[in-house]
């Protein structure tokens, strides 16, 4: 065992971070940093080649993740992380491409791209940090804001139904769908590791506190209270029908792995079609073949 104190003191996730960019911009009690920690631990656990890993974010609090990870990282435009990542993956199929962004970015302004990437089964790992609100801009209603929560743009309470994201992406075609909260750091890391084993569109939702704008405005206490809520009200139901996992403001949070199935990803389907139609005229791109049957568990 090393006795070098300096070595011993290095946080194991530090080598994944741009420490020259610290301190980060996230508020005290924000859950995004926690998710990054789980992500880094998943990378350590899965022994992913970091040179071939690229991370793409959109805009918003979670959109800033791209700026803090020591990877090829792209902070793109609002809502467009998924199409950018699609181009990156298609141009270089050897890359592992992660999309790391927030609920507003991915499901409102980027909602169309979310469902179409799932439909196409593009090989992307999407990590959606869901803090139930637009946080960067000051706490406006998001498509994920539950019940009658108070926001800056619904000061008398929201009345729009919220998206149930696991249900949405499963319907659109995702091959892997899981949800955890920032209380479930190990389970989250495990799900991220599992997603790296999948070929196709994987979606992991992480319910995360925004103490500054969501919890405070809705009198839900501080982040510690939120952790207690996550701990007490989360129920692990692996394989739960996604139709039943919608969120409410203070009710049960169904967490777990909801979908884990296999079907050919976009590039496999494209290649198969070209081979079928063009035969020898098809000029192959560098691509590692991995046949996937359509199986759902």
């Amino acid at each position: 065992m090393s006795t070098d104190l300096n070595t011993d003191l290095i946080n194991p996730v530090e080598s994944f971070l741009r420490t020259d960019r610290m301190p980060h911009i996230w508020c005290p009690g924000c859950g995004i940093g926690t998710t990054v920690n789980s992500f880094a631990r998943a990378l350590i656990g899965s022994k992913i080649d970091l040179d071939s890993l690229a991370l793409v974010s959109g805009i918003g609090c979670t959109g800033r993740v791209a700026g803090y990870v020591k990877l090829d990282s792209f902070h793109t435009t609002h809502g467009r992380a998924i199409p950018f990542a699609t181009g990156l993956k298609l141009a270089n199929p050897k890359l592992n491409v992660v999309v790391y962004s927030g609920d507003g970015d991915l499901s409102a302004i980027g909602g169309n791209h979310l469902i179409h990437a799932a439909r196409r089964n593009i090989d992307l790992k999407v990590i959606c940090v869901n803090n139930l609100i637009y946080a960067m801009t000051g706490g406006q209603t998001a498509p994920t804001t539950p019940d009658h929560a108070t926001t800056s743009t619904n000061p008398y309470g929201t009345f729009e139904p919220a998206f149930n994201l696991p249900h949405l992406v499963e319907a659109a075609g995702a091959v892997y769908v899981a949800r955890w909260t920032t209380f479930h750091v190990r389970q989250l890391a495990r799900s991220i590791s599992e997603a790296f084993q999948k070929k196709g569109f994987s979606f992991i939702e992480v319910i995360s506190p925004c103490p500054t704008l969501y919890q405070r405005r809705n009198k839900l206490g501080d982040s510690l209270d939120t952790m207690k809520y996550y701990k007490e009200k989360s129920k692990v139901r692996n394989g739960a029908p996604t139709k039943e996992v919608g969120l409410t403001m203070s009710g049960e949070i169904v967490v777990g792995k909801f979908v884990d199935c296999d079907r050919p990803d976009y590039q496999a389907m494209m290649r198969a079609q070209y081979v079928h139609s063009l035969g020898e005229k098809f000029v192959e791109l560098p691509y590692e073949e991995e046949e996937a049957e359509t199986v759902c568990s």
């Binding site: 990282s73 467009r80 990156l88 298609l90 890359l95």
Partner: protein
Amino acid sequence: MKADPGGVLTGEHFIDGDHACCEGALAAGANFASGYPITPSTEVVERFAARVPTVGGTFIQMEDELAASITLQGAVWGGAKAFTVTSGPGFSLMMEHIGYAAMTETPCVFVDVQRGGPSTGLPTLPAQADMMQARWGSHGDYSIIALCPNSPQECFDLTIKAFNLSEEFRVPVMFMMDEVVGHMTEKVVIPPADQIEVVPRKHTKKSVEDYLPYGTNGDMVPEMAHAGEGYKFHVTGLTHDERGYPNMTLATQDKLVRRLQNKIRGSVDRIAMFEEEHLEDADVVVVSYGITSRVAQRAIDAARQRGLRVGKLRLITAWPFPENKFRELAKKVKAFVVPELNLGQMALEVERATNGQAKTFCITHAGGGVHDPEEILKVIVEASR
């Protein structure tokens, strides 16, 4: 370097401008396109979709133009040469990502086959009314390059040029076709690959330790790396320093935005291409571009036959605008006649550059057709008085 023969369809062809543009892209080494269907531009990507699997590369039809215009940029950072193709309404949707490409210095080409607008306008009929949008459409200060072909042959030749300029300056290049040029069928000669000059990506040769993603070493255009090569670089649309890191100081903003502008403005003489005729003795200069230049040619020839001293200046590069060229000409000529398929766009630039030293007569047209050469001739006669 010379073009890869794989994508070059050497020979004589009888094809339209849209198809010629696609062949130009393939000859330039484009191996990625993302698009969304829109008249009158779709034939470009239809041909690309048919051709690219036989030469190596990818076409993806995206769910909208917002996606198409950023998917291609992801592909560029993954190592591809990429472009997208659209027309007015789609071009409007792409504006944010033209700004993103300018800010992140992503080399790529946006083809706009112009049709009548505003809004849905005249989907199947020509216009040249996106010229200012091409220059100023995205928010903030930046510069782009815009080229205007006037024949299917030029759709081929200048598409290669557009890719080359985008690589040399790491800038999005707007390829400003119009519906007539796009749908006009003419002879297009595609030379052998070894006669086609292709500018390669300005890829860094520096080590991972020494590489600064937005460091410029004085030549204004930084060197690029691709994802997956171990550089672990960061790209952002936020104001960023030489490391590519967000930095919101006024000093960083000033340095970055001025460089993005100056790398193009400062090279206008290298970038600007025009075709000129009879400028030596001209009293009046007809300034035109795209399909209008071919209509104007008839008026110019007729005016010359009448003994009028009229010259021709065809803008092949619309942006950056060659101000000095106009400033010099304005000292010698009486007037500029600017026919264009809009209500006065490039004519404003002519006025600005000549600063009252010569008169500017803009011959406007709301789009949907082309000018009557007689109408241009009348204005030439008036301007010659």
